[in-house]
């Protein structure tokens, strides 16, 4: 009996791996999850969740234009991602409109431009796959580009890990001791745009937003140490990707949606049972809590 259930569980894991598209989907989603999870802890602490939302939507027209001109998607996306942030900053400075309003206004405008362009430029860009991704139908060139950009972002974030933490925590001190705050600001934005690009190609815009926000929030509830927060954030993002893809394979569900739902459930679990910050403070049940 035990052997039987073991075999079932075993095939639950290994059966999907016999399909090439599933192996690719698992690899790609984990990579994107790792990149976004890493970034997510910075965005959560910097209060940039809405900025993540904005940038991931704003890259859309860039992708379409790049496609029309035969340029790499990432270039177009990057220009529009950083451009949207510059525009947000400019409008905020020059008008009396509040920042969150400006962010919403700019990114919906960019996004709408993207949609209009898609409908006008005859292309084989599938709107649905940009929005919701098609993790199960990623091309080989996309795989290469995703791996390259993901590695680039992870390396950049790793090198400037501590500087970015200081930048999020106390930019004034960073500036006072001669650290280039301007550079760090744009480094974070660049990584955000690049993450949006890799996410867009493999898992879709809507999913990228979730991946940039939820893992960081989950980790924030679970730890008081920055390094642990990054690790938990990355792990929870990867685990939700794996769970989401397996579940969508076996139960024939929408893949992107399943991944986000897995993340949301992990967040809810942390929200309810996190040792220190959860509603029920799980630790209390075992060791008491001062």
């Amino acid at each position: 009996m035990e052997l039987c259930s073991f075999l079932t569980f075993d095939s639950f894991i290994t059966d999907p791996l016999t399909h090439d598209f599933m192996r690719k989907a698992l690899l790609m989603s984990s990579l994107v999850a790792a990149v976004c999870g890493f970034l997510s802890s910075y965005l959560t602490l910097k209060g940039w969740a809405l900025m993540g939302d904005a940038v991931s939507h704003s890259v859309m027209p860039g992708v379409v234009v790049a496609y029309a001109l035969g340029l790499p998607f990432s270039l177009g996306a990057f220009i529009f991602g950083v451009g949207s942030v510059a525009l947000i900053g400019f409008i905020k400075q020059k008008s009396r409109v509040k920042e969150d309003t400006v962010i919403g206004l700019v990114f919906t405008g960019f996004f709408a431009l993207g949609i209009v362009l898609v409908s006008k430029i005859k292309s084989n860009i599938d709107l649905h796959s940009i929005l919701f991704g098609s993790p199960l139908g990623i091309s080989l060139s996309d795989v290469k580009q995703t791996i390259f950009i993901s590695l680039l972002v992870v390396i950049l974030l790793s090198i400037f890990r501590k500087d970015l933490m200081l930048y999020c925590f106390d930019p004034r001190h960073a500036k006072t001791v001669g650290i280039n705050v301007f550079f760090l600001h744009y480094l974070l934005l660049t990584c955000l745009s690049l993450a949006a690009v890799v996410g867009l190609q493999s898992v879709g815009i809507i999913l990228v937003v979730a991946m940039l926000i939820t893992p960081g929030a989950t980790a924030y509830l679970l730890t008081d140490k920055f390094d642990n927060m990054t690790v938990i954030s990355v792990l929870s993002a990867i685990i939700s990707s794996l769970i989401g893809i397996y579940v969508s394979f076996w139960f024939d569900l929408e893949t992107g949606g399943s991944i986000v739902l897995a993340q949301t459930f992990i967040f809810l679990f942390a929200f309810l049972f996190a040792p220190r910050y959860g509603i029920f403070k799980l630790k209390k049940l075992f060791v008491g809590y001062k």
């Binding site: 602490l45 400075q93 090198i159 501590k162 500087d163 933490m165 200081l166 999020c168 925590f169 106390d170 930019p171 004034r172 001190h173 960073a174 500036k175 006072t176 001791v177 001669g178 650290i179 924030y220 730890t223 008081d224 140490k225 920055f226 642990n228 927060m229």
Partner: protein, 254 residues
């Protein structure tokens, strides 16, 4: 007559102006401080105290005037770790997942390599600084679990670890317990003896009389500047606070 040697001044701000998108926050402000001097920066909210600090640290650019730190530019003062800024408790995110040790280590970042790997000397500097503010029992405590006074001491330790010769303190006495207040005042005397220069902003008139050799009264520009005993008069204070009588500020004389 003695000629002015700029090297003698730790801080030398001359006619500085700061504006944010055309809105003037500070104009024609002057300040000269020597090693070992403690100066109080007094003014209303919005009088430009934080702007003054920001200009000295290079966090905002001045639109006019000149700032020299130890005779050199603000930029080279940043490179040399000359200035340390101790923020107001309200100015920092106390829920940030970071420990006392990590905050104090940030004081050493400017003199570390690009990966910010602590050397033996950095670790020692951090240990010593934490000991001086009496937080050795809280090395790995997240700052969110500290009291207001302990948090203030953590940031003081960061400034000590940085080995800065100029300390800028934003409201160092607000929201701290008696023990912290006593410790801070002891540290001030030590800093003075070490030849450090201190500029502190405060709302509390009693602290100005107690600690500050000099006082700078500002309201968008300098209202009065000089020895505390000479400048810190009821008339000047009234002008600084826009006509509110010092009786109201100090409470009725008893």
């Amino acid at each position: 007559m003695e000629s002015i040697n700029y090297q003698n001044f730790r801080i030398d701000a001359e006619n500085i102006c700061v504006d944010y998108n055309g809105k003037v926050a500070l104009y024609d402000a002057n300040l000269r401080l020597k090693p070992g001097q403690i100066c109080g920066l007094v003014g209303m909210n919005g009088a430009g105290k934080t702007t003054f600090f920001n200009a000295l640290t290079g966090f905002v650019n001045i639109s006019k005037g000149k700032i020299r730190i130890n005779g050199e530019s603000v930029r080279s003062a940043q490179k040399d770790q000359t200035i340390a800024y101790v923020p107001q408790n309200e100015g920092i995110d106390s829920q940030f997942p970071i420990s006392v040790w990590d905050v104090v280590m940030m004081g050493r970042y400017g003199s570390m390599n690009i990966f910010r790997c602590p050397r033996e000397s950095d670790v020692q500097a951090v240990k010593d600084a934490i000991e001086r503010v009496d937080l050795t029992n809280h090395l790995s405590t997240p700052i969110g679990n500290l009291s207001g006074g302990q948090r203030k001491r953590t940031f003081l330790a960061r400034a000590i670890a940085q080995r800065a010769s100029i300390l800028l303190l934003d409201e160092p006495f607000s929201g701290v317990d008696i023990r912290t207040e006593k410790l801070i005042s002891e540290l001030f005397i030590q800093f003075k003896n070490e030849g450090k220069t201190i500029l502190l902003s405060t709302h509390d008139m009693i602290h100005v009389r107690e600690f500050c050799d000099l006082v700078l009264l500002i309201n968008k520009t300098v209202v009065a500047y000089g020895e505390t005993s000479e400048v810190f008069t009821p008339e000047n204070i009234t002008t600084t606070f826009g006509g509110i009588s010092p009786d109201f500020l100090f409470g009725p004389e008893s």
